[in-house]
């Protein structure tokens, strides 16, 4: 009798579980059940911040997510702490992380991490870097700067702690001369130093320097991308000048490694919808001169993996 009861109970339990699973499948797609935390590991006002603000704004205005989304800036330890916090989160369906190539590089080269610790959700756009000088700079074009460098003049170049330094290294290798890099915590800080005349030029993304260049305080001299930017960032590329310096950075979104599959699907879908809105192309992509390049969760993983292989040299 007891055995029978146990058997019955087990069957009931199992069928209950199976039934619940089945119920879940038919109850429609997953959606956030509480407030969403969106982590940004660089300072407010920089490229990643503007990128994230723009997406959140569109999600709100298009009502793509019912719950509130809070942007949380975790810049400690060069962003390492924020990245680690997100990647180790258990069952993290309500946490997103802004993640571009400048975040991936320190993750794999210094923090002993890799993409397996995160779940790529989307690549949203490709961004480029540009070198700026002050309006009243002694040298107003890249040709003049290169000539002066070759003549032995000393230049100080400012830039953020992320992948900006790659451009400096490439310039040093390709052009040479007495060029020094002044690493700042954020692009904003690098631009402050340029405005105050403490550095001779600075590397920035168009989004972070948009106002300062539009108002004519700063001037673009050279683009580190494959093509020229539109006005007011119009300047020759290194390629045009005959140097093999070309960088492109992607802007993407990832979640914790342990993000449930249905949440991955949800966020990938929301971000795909964002990338198709006219607000996205007008107020972000066109305004800040990016290239729209949306990839869903699966493609984003493949794409980011290529960058990881490049950084680790595999």
């Amino acid at each position: 009798m007891k055995k029978l009861l146990t058997a019955l109970l087990m069957t009931a339990l199992i069928s209950g579980v199976v039934f619940a699973e089945g119920q879940n499948d038919t109850a429609g797609p997953w959606a956030p059940e509480k407030g969403v935390e969106w982590v940004v590991t660089s300072s407010a006002g920089g490229g990643s911040s503007i990128f994230t603000q723009s997406i959140v704004e569109i999600i709100k205005s298009e009502a793509l997510v019912d719950e509130n989304i809070i942007i949380n800036y975790k810049t400690d330890g060069g962003g390492a702490i924020g990245r680690r916090a997100v990647s180790t989160m258990k069952n993290g369906a309500h946490t997103l992380l802004t993640f571009n190539s400048g975040d991936l590089k320190p993750l794999v080269t210094m923090e002993k991490g890799d993409l397996d610790g995160l779940t790529p959700l989307a690549v949203m756009a490709l961004d480029g870097q540009i070198i700026l000088v002050r309006e009243d700079s002694k040298y107003k074009t890249i040709e003049e700067i290169i000539d002066a460098l070759k003549a032995g003049e000393r230049f100080i170049m400012g830039g953020s702690k992320s992948d900006d330094e790659e451009i400096y290294n490439a310039m040093l290798a390709e052009i040479g001369g007495d060029l020094e890099y002044l690493r700042s915590d954020s692009t904003g800080e690098a631009l402050t130093q340029l405005l105050g005349g403490h550095v001779d030029m600075a590397i920035s993304k168009p989004a972070a320097s948009f106002d300062l260049v539009s108002s004519g305080e700063l001037k673009a001299v050279v683009s580190a991308g494959a093509t020229r930017f539109a006005d007011p960032f119009d300047a020759p590329t290194f390629g045009e000048l005959g140097y093999d310096i070309e960088f492109q950075i992607y802007r993407g979104v990832v979640g914790p490694a342990d993000m449930p599959a249905e949440a991955v699907e949800f966020w990938s879908d929301v971000l795909a919808k964002v990338s198709k809105t006219s607000a996205w192309s007008e107020n972000y992509i066109n305004k800040f001169l990016l290239v729209s390049n949306h990839l869903g969760a699966a493609d984003a993983k493949v794409y980011m993996q290529k960058f990881e292989d490049m950084y680790t040299g595999n």
């Binding site: 006002g45 509130n68 320190p106 106002d211 300062l212």
Partner: protein
């Protein structure tokens, strides 16, 4: 004149009933959150920011600025009442504020703090209104070299807080500097003293350190066998909280002096409210009427740092609005908030969105007044905290310490760090090592190191750069004079001993150390 008209329009928007009540709610919440140790103004603004998104942009911004101000007010409350600074600028407030509370004048200390915060905030905003964009330009002149020189002056001023035993003070300062070196090297980006721990890689967090050193070490002290003198049996009424006319007069000069100093410090890129409140306090200790009594619990001590702190907070708006560059962590969160409202701080802001910008500045005025009213009206309830007996206070403060240190990083790392800091702090205090120099050195050292090393990158290793830039040169000369003034004084006395009449040149050198 156009500026004035735009500002008046801004007031019109800010003073509708809806905006007014939003500001009042923001002020109340801001004070409560700011008064919780470990949350402080940075996390407080971040926590309450989403709340403002429920309103239309103007109302939201007004509420946001009320929250910002109220957080600054609240930060000093826990400092004064339970000797746990809510955020880093409030470290200075604790120096005189808590002794005042212990003497039985908690209400007076709180009121002094609020009034001087108000004065500081108001002067700061007025300067911002008149010459914000111009001043932001001047602030740009402070590059790495100038900042390094300024911070060297600040570092040497720490000697004025060292108390009776300079050796112990120096050891305490150096401990602070050592702790600050843990984490990422800020100039080349390599890990330092992390011992393989990711938490240490992120550096030692200030909030748990401060809560441990001030708060938890105090819990340990309270549990020691003690004389029964520290509970206040006096009845605390609202009347006791009011300042006498004479005390009020004593507050005004230091508050005004510190307000101007604070605003200027706030405008400098990367200097922030902590440096502001610290230099305000130190200045009062040098030039004030009651400078000898500073640190024993007098109103001037509270007034000088609180005024400077809030003035610096207003000053930080200048680079934020006119260049789009936040001067502090809190500024960065505010910038995030402004961006959410579609306001793009930068050189074009005043030109492209004048209504909104002046509305914001007007709402800073409104928020400041409302916060003052709200803050003063809750003083009678707050001072009751001091009447709670020790046996109940100990578990309460312990809980507050653990909560505060946990919430600063959302991990047990903060709690462990706080407990260690509390234990170390307790023994330092028992052996008469002063704690404030340690904490201030911890705050100032990274900025100094960064500026100093950047200066050498710019100059390719030549120290002459500190004399080639005019602002830096003036600061360095001032520094050298301050350091060498005891020698000049000794010389002066010797000469006077030999001769009766001498030229008074050495007399004018700037410092006198004790």
């Amino acid at each position: 004149m156009e500026t004035f008209n735009l500002l008046m329009q801004g007031f019109q928007t800010a003073l509708t009933f809806q905006n007014f009540s939003a500001a009042a709610i923001g002020a109340l919440l801001g004070i409560l959150v700011g008064a919780m140790p470990g949350i402080g103004s940075l996390a407080g603004v971040a926590l309450l920011l989403p709340l403002t998104f429920k309103f239309n942009p103007t109302t939201g911004i007004i509420m946001l600025s009320a929250i910002y101000y109220a957080n600054m007010y609240g930060g000093s409350f826990s400092s004064i009442l339970i000797n746990i600074p809510g955020d880093s600028p409030a470290v200075m407030t604790a120096l005189d504020g808590h002794p005042m509370a212990k003497k039985g004048h908690p209400g007076k200390a709180l009121l002094t703090s609020n009034l001087s915060s108000f004065i500081g905030g108001t002067i700061g905003i007025i300067i911002l209104t008149i010459s914000g964009p111009v001043l932001a330009r001047l602030g740009l002149k402070f590059g790495p070299v100038e900042m390094a020189a300024l911070l060297m002056v600040a570092m040497t001023s720490l000697s004025w807080l060292m108390g009776d035993n300079p050796t112990k003070g120096l050891i305490s300062t150096l401990l602070g500097i050592i702790l600050a070196t843990v984490g990422f090297d800020i100039v080349v980006g390599t890990p330092r003293f992390d011992f393989g721990s990711l938490h240490l890689l992120g550096g030692i967090s200030f909030i748990p350190l401060v809560i441990g050193m001030f708060g938890f070490s105090q819990v340990l002290e309270m549990m020691e066998p003690r004389e029964a003198t520290d509970t206040i049996n006096k009845k605390l009424t609202l009347k006791d909280s009011l300042l006498t006319k004479e005390e009020f007069k004593r507050i005004i000069p230091p508050a005004i002096r510190s307000s101007f100093l604070g605003t200027i410090i706030g405008i400098l890129p990367g200097a922030g409210a902590t440096t502001g409140s610290f230099l305000g306090y130190v200045m009062e200790k040098k030039v004030g009427k009651n400078k000898d009594k500073m640190g024993t619990g007098i109103v001037e001590g509270v007034a000088s740092c609180e005024a400077a702190n809030n003035a610096a907070a207003a000053g930080a708006f200048a680079p934020l609005l006119s260049l789009g560059i936040p001067g502090s962590g809190t500024g960065a969160v505010l910038l995030g908030g402004l961006l959410m409202y579609g306001l793009n701080p930068g050189p074009l802001l005043f030109k492209n969105q004048p209504e909104f910008t002046w509305g914001l500045i007007a709402s800073l005025y409104v928020a400041n007044v409302i916060t003052l009213v709200v803050a003063i009206s809750i003083i009678p309830f707050l001072v009751k905290i001091l009447k709670v007996p020790t046996r109940i206070m100990v578990p309460i403060i312990t809980t507050v310490c653990i909560m505060g240190s946990y919430s600063s990083s959302n991990s047990l790392y903060g709690v462990v760090l706080m407990l260690i800091a509390g234990f170390v702090g307790f023994h330092l205090k028992k052996n008469n090592y002063p704690i404030p120099p340690l904490l201030l050195a911890f705050v100032l050292a990274p900025t100094l190191e960064r500026a100093f090393r950047r200066s050498f990158i710019i100059s390719d290793g030549s120290p002459l750069i500190f004399f080639q830039k005019p602002i830096a040169a003036v600061l360095i000369v001032f520094l050298l004079l301050t350091i060498s003034s005891p020698i000049f004084k000794a010389l002066y006395r010797k000469i006077r001993g030999n001769r009766s009449e001498i030229s008074g040149e050495a007399n004018r050198s700037c410092g006198e150390t004790k």
